[in-house]
């Protein structure tokens, strides 16, 4: 009888502990979106400005083959434009994901999982990668 009581006691403690862990886990994964639409839109405006600079660079004549890409060049380098194009695609995708998330979970809404900050970071770093290339080559007055 004593052994049964002991086993029941251990089971009760185990259940309680596992319940606490689940609760803690559930609380930890619930996050509130702190950003308003205007903030997310402003991030898109920054991307739009960086993209406009890339479009202006692409509109320059193609540099002769064998010319190394140089800052503030009056022609566009083929490989550099490829890199810019890839960065634009990545930034578009990351920003579109952020906007989709923002539309589904407006400011103040509580959601499960920490996706929001991850998406925000991804969008910001993707835009940063594009502007980084532009700054390095002085594209768009950057």
């Amino acid at each position: 009888m004593k052994r049964i009581s002991l086993l029941l006691g251990i089971a009760a403690v185990a259940l309680t502990l596992s319940g606490c862990a689940s609760l803690k886990s559930a609380l930890a994964t619930h996050v509130t979106n702190p950003l308003n639409d205007q903030h997310v839109a402003a991030i898109g405006d920054a991307l739009g400005t960086a993209q406009a600079a890339a479009v202006a660079y692409a509109a320059l004549p193609l540099c002769p083959k064998g010319t190394a890409p140089a800052p503030a060049s009056t022609c566009h380098d083929k490989q550099l434009l490829r890199s810019i194009d890839a960065a634009m695609h990545a930034a578009d995708k990351a920003y579109a994901d952020l906007v989709t998330y923002q539309q589904a979970n407006p400011q103040g809404s509580t959601v499960v999982g920490g996706n929001f900050s991850q998406l925000l970071t991804q969008a910001q770093s993707a835009i940063g990668a594009l502007t980084g290339i532009e700054q390095a080559y002085k594209i768009g007055g950057a």
């Binding site: 205007q38 566009h76 578009d92």
Partner: protein, 97 residues
């Protein structure tokens, strides 16, 4: 209550807002300022202005409608498409790497 100080503090807090929300905040603060003499005399309450200001700071203004998000994303995609087109043109004009 020093309503001028409250107004100044709200103005500083609203400086984080951008776009339409910033314009809304400016309008709200302007109305609050106009109403200050009446508020100080106790003719009208400052409460509605304070509530509106907190709402505005909380939600950053009106939510952006779905069609405006779509237009913004379409504009970004159009710019990327323009660069895509030039990359393809470069491949034709200068084949190989």
């Amino acid at each position: 209550m020093n309503w001028t100080a409250v107004l100044q503090a709200l103005g500083e807090a609203a400086s984080i807002l951008t776009g339409p929300a910033a314009a809304q905040a400016e309008q709200l603060i302007g109305l609050f300022e106009q109403a200050l003499p009446a508020i100080e005399k106790g003719v009208i309450s400052a409460q509605p202005f304070i509530i509106d200001a907190f709402k505005l700071l909380g939600n950053g203004g009106q939510p952006i409608p779905a069609d405006q998000w779509a237009a913004k994303l379409a504009l970004l995609k159009a710019q990327t498409d323009a660069v895509d087109a030039q990359v393809q043109q470069d491949d034709q004009d200068q084949p190989g790497n």
